[in-house]
C-alpha cells in the first residue's frame, strides 16, 4: 500500500516535468533533451531563493515559474525558432543537448558539483493515514502537480489560446491558414514547457539531493515517460509518469528492487509493440 501511494505521489511530479517535454514536442516537433537540466536549474533557483533570501520553497515558485518561463522564451527565440525543414526534429536534439551542456557547465561553476538538497520543516515531516506515513512534501508535490496539470488542461481546452495550441498540434500549416500565429504559439508553448520545470525541480530538489549531473538520470526517465504516454499527449504523460514510478515501486516491494527498472521497460516494449504511438499518442503523422 505504501509503495502504491509513493508511486502515485512521486509519479505525478515526474508527469509534471514530462508535460513540458511532451507539449513542446507536440506543438513544435522539438525533442528537448535539455528538459532534465531545466528541472535542475529550477531546483537551483529555489535553492538560491531559500538559502540567500530565506524565501519558502512554495512561495518562491511565484518567482521561479515566471523566471523559467522567460528563460524558455529567450532560448526559443535565440536558438530553436531558427530550426526549420525536414531535419528540424533531429537538429533540435543536437541544439538542446548543446544548451544542456552549457547550462550544466555554468551550474557546476556557480554551485560546484557538491550535491545539495532543499530543506524545510515539511520536507522531513509526515503524518500517518491508515497505517502509512505520508510525507507532507510528497503530498504537497502531488497537489501542486495536479493543480498545474489542471491549469494546463484548462488553458488548452477552455481558452482561445488553448484552441490555437491544439490547432497547431493538429496541423501547423492549417492553423497558419486560419490566422493563428504559429510562431508565437510555439514560443509561448516552449516558455510554458520550461516554466513547469520550476515546480517539478523544486519538488525534485526537496526529495532528492542533486547537482547538475543529476539531469542525465532525469532526462532519460522523462523521455521514457513521454514515449510510453504518447509523444504530444498531456494525459499520456500523466498516466505514464504515475505508471512508471508505481510499477517500479511495486515490483521493488513485491519482488526485488533489482527488477524494478527492468519491469517498466518490459511494459514499455509490450505497449510499443501493440501501440507504437504510445498509450495516448496519435497514430497518424502530423503535417508540419
Amino acid at each position: 500500500m505504501g509503495a502504491l501511494t509513493d508511486g502515485v505521489l512521486t509519479g505525478s511530479v515526474y508527469a509534471l516535468m514530462a508535460t513540458g517535454l511532451t507539449l513542446v514536442f507536440g506543438v513544435m516537433d522539438i525533442i528537448n533533451v535539455a528538459q532534465g537540466i531545466f528541472v535542475i536549474l529550477g531546483a537551483y533557483l529555489s535553492y538560491t531563493l531559500q538559502v540567500h533570501f530565506g524565501i519558502d520553497l512554495f512561495l518562491g515558485l511565484l518567482i521561479t515559474i515566471p523566471t523559467m518561463f522567460l528563460v524558455g522564451i529567450v532560448i526559443e527565440r535565440a536558438f530553436l525558432a531558427r530550426l526549420k525543414g525536414p531535419e528540424k526534429t533531429a537538429m533540435s536534439i543536437l541544439v538542446t543537448y548543446a544548451i544542456s551542456l552549457v547550462i550544466e557547465g555554468l551550474l557546476n561553476e556557480i554551485f560546484s558539483v557538491n550535491n545539495v538538497q532543499l530543506s524545510a520543516s515539511y520536507v522531513n515531516e509526515s503524518f500517518k493515514l491508515f497505517g502509512i506515513y505520508l510525507p507532507y512534501i510528497y503530498l504537497d508535490g502531488f497537489l501542486l502537480a495536479i493543480g498545474l496539470l489542471g491549469a494546463l488542461y484548462f488553458m488548452l481546452y477552455r481558452t482561445r489560446f488553448g484552441a490555437s495550441i491544439r490547432a497547431s498540434l493538429a496541423d501547423q500549416s492549417a492553423a497558419a491558414l486560419v490566422g493563428i500565429d504559429v510562431k508565437k504559439v510555439s514560443t509561448i508553448c516552449f516558455g510554458i514547457g520550461i516554466a513547469v520545470t520550476a515546480a517539478g525541480g523544486m519538488i525534485f530538489g526537496a526529495t532528492n539531493s542533486f547537482n547538475a549531473s543529476t539531469s542525465y538520470d532525469l532526462i532519460s526517465r522523462l523521455l521514457t515517460i513521454i514515449v510510453l504516454g504518447g509523444m504530444g499527449s498531456l494525459a499520456g504523460a500523466l498516466v505514464a509518469g504515475i505508471l512508471m514510478v508505481t510499477l517500479e515501486d511495486l515490483v521493488g516491494v513485491l519482488w526485488s528492487p533489482v527488477w524494478s527498472t527492468m519491469s517498466f521497460f518490459v511494459v514499455l516494449i509490450i505497449v510499443l509493440s501493440l501501440r507504437p504511438q504510445g498509450l495516448f499518442g496519435k497514430q497518424s503523422a502530423r503535417v508540419a
Partner: protein, 416 residues
C-alpha cells in the same frame, strides 16, 4: 544550402558548448608551464567531471592537482616539471577507455593515473595494459578489478572487501545486552559496494538477527520505496552499500519521514565525502552516520597533516570536511613519484617491475606495498563517524587504536 547553413549553425552551437565546458573543467587542470629547458613529464588522467561520479571526480582532480603543485614547487620529478592532462569521461565506462587511448596515442603522455571508481578502473586498466602502461589508482579496490589478473594495476588504497571488518568485529563483540538485536543489509549492485556488504554480512553472521537483505540496481534514481522497506522492518542497525551522497541522503530523508532512527547506520560511501556530505544532508542530520575508510582528515600522519593544511588553505573549510578522495589521489601521485625516482625515468615496464618488487612507499594514506595482484594490504581499515552535531568526523574503530574515540551508540535522533 539552407540545410547546410542550419547544420553549421547547430554544430557551431555545440562547438561553443564544448569549448565552454572544456574551458570550465579541463583547462583548470592544466599544470604550470615547463620551467627552464627541462622537458615536461605528461601524466594523462580520465576523470568523471560530469555524470554520476562527478562529485568524486572533481575531488580526485583537486587531489591530483594538489600533488602536482607540490611536486612542481619542489623542483618537479627528477628535475622535470609535471603536467596533468585531464579528460572528462562523464562517468561512462566506454568514454573512459576512449580517453585513455587518446591520452596515450594522441597526447603521448608519459604516465597515466587512474580514474574514479572500480566500475571505470577495470576497463581503463585493460585498455592501457595493451599499451604497456602502468595504472596506479586509488579508487579501484573492488575484487573484480584484481580478479582480472592484470599486471599493470596498482591500487594504493586498501581493497574494499576489508572496509567493514573493524565495524563487524566491534558490533559482534558488544555485550549481548547492548548489541543490536536486528540488522538490515541493503546495497546497490555496484562492484564496489556488494563485496563490502557481503563481507560484513558474512562476519556478523547470526550474532545479530538479519531482518532483511535487499539489492537494488546501481542505476536506481528513486530510493524511497526501498528505504521505506528498511524502515518498516525497524532494524536496530542498517548497513547500506552506497556509492555516493544522493543514495545516502535519500535513505536518511525517507527514514526521517518514516519516524525511524536506527541505532547504527553505516554506509560504504557517502559520509566520507566531507563537506560534500554535510552540505547535502545538513550537519545535524549527519551526526552519528558511520563510514569505513583507510584515511580521514584528522589523520596524524605528518604527510597527511601537511596535505590537509594545504588543501584547507587553498579550498577553505576544516580538516573534517576534506574528502577522502583527495588523499587517495594524492597517494597515487606519491606512489608514482617514488617509482619514477627509483627507476630513474618514466619507463612504464621498469615502473611496474619496481612496484611489484615488494617495496614499501610512504604516502598520505600510510604505507603502500603491492602484492602480485596490485592490492595494497599494508593499510588498516578504520570506521569513522560524524559526531558533535555533524561538525567533527572522527575515527571510532578499531576500538583500542590510539586515534579512536568513543562511538556514539546508539545514534542520536535525526537533527539532534
Amino acid at each position: 544550402m539552407k540545410k547546410n547553413a542550419m547544420a553549421l549553425r547547430s554544430l557551431g552551437i555545440i562547438g561553443v558548448a564544448a569549448a565552454t565546458l572544456l574551458t570550465m573543467s579541463t583547462v583548470s587542470g592544466a599544470a604550470p608551464k615547463a620551467r627552464g629547458t627541462a622537458s615536461v613529464i605528461k601524466i594523462g588522467i580520465s576523470l568523471s567531471l560530469s555524470g554520476d561520479f562527478s562529485a568524486d571526480g572533481i575531488a580526485y582532480k583537486q587531489g591530483y592537482q594538489l600533488w602536482a603543485k607540490d611536486v612542481n614547487a619542489a623542483g618537479g620529478l627528477m628535475g622535470h616539471p609535471v603536467q596533468l592532462v585531464i579528460l572528462s569521461d562523464a562517468s561512462d565506462p566506454t568514454q573512459v577507455v576512449t580517453n585513455y587511448k587518446t591520452l596515450i596515442s594522441t597526447d603521448h603522455v608519459n604516465l597515466v593515473f587512474g580514474p574514479f571508481s572500480s566500475l571505470l578502473t577495470l576497463p581503463s586498466a585493460e585498455a592501457v595494459s595493451r599499451y604497456g602502461y602502468a595504472m596506479v589508482e586509488g579508487a579501484g579496490g573492488a575484487p573484480s578489478v584484481f580478479s582480472a589478473n592484470l599486471k599493470n594495476v596498482f591500487d594504493v588504497t586498501l581493497p574494499v572487501a576489508f572496509d567493514l571488518q573493524p565495524f563487524a568485529k566491534w558490533v559482534k563483540a558488544l555485550p549481548s545486552a547492548t548489541r543490536p538485536k536486528s540488522i538490515f543489509y541493503v546495497t546497490s549492485n555496484d562492484p564496489f559496494t556488494q563485496p563490502v556488504v557481503d563481507t560484513a554480512r558474512s562476519m556478523i553472521g547470526s550474532s545479530i538477527k538479519s531482518v532483511g537483505h535487499l539489492v537494488f540496481p546501481s542505476e536506481a534514481t528513486d530510493w524511497k520505496s526501498i528505504a521505506d522497506q528498511v524502515a518498516t522492518a525497524k532494524p536496530d542497525a542498517v548497513v547500506l552499500g552506497s556509492v555516493d551522497v544522493p543514495t545516502v541522503s535519500a535513505f536518511m530523508l525517507a527514514f526521517q519521514q518514516m519516524h525511524y532512527t536506527p541505532k547504527i547506520f553505516v554506509c560504504t560511501a557517502g559520509p566520507d565525502q566531507g563537506r560534500a556530505f554535510t552540505s547535502a544532508v545538513g550537519a545535524k542530520n549527519a551526526d552519528g552516520m558511520m563510514v569505513p575508510n583507510s584515511w580521514y582528515g584528522g589523520s596524524v600522519n605528518p604527510m597527511s597533516k601537511r596535505m590537509v593544511s594545504e588543501y584547507v588553505t587553498q579550498y577553505g573549510g576544516t580538516a573534517s570536511g576534506v574528502n577522502a578522495d583527495i588523499a587517495e589521489a594524492y597517494s597515487v601521485g606519491q606512489t608514482v613519484a617514488a617509482a619514477v625516482k627509483a627507476t630513474g625515468g618514466t619507463d612504464n615496464a621498469k615502473i611496474m617491475t619496481y612496484l611489484h618488487s615488494g617495496v614499501t612507499i610512504a604516502t598520505v594514506q600510510g604505507a603502500v606495498k603491492f602484492n602480485s595482484l596490485g592490492e595494497n594490504l599494508s593499510q588498516t581499515a578504520y570506521t569513522f563517524q560524524w559526531q558533535k552535531a555533524g561538525t567533527a568526523f572522527v575515527q571510532v574503530n578499531p576500538v583500542g587504536d590510539k586515534a579512536s574515540v568513543a562511538i556514539e551508540y546508539p545514534k542520536n535522533a535525526w537533527g539532534k
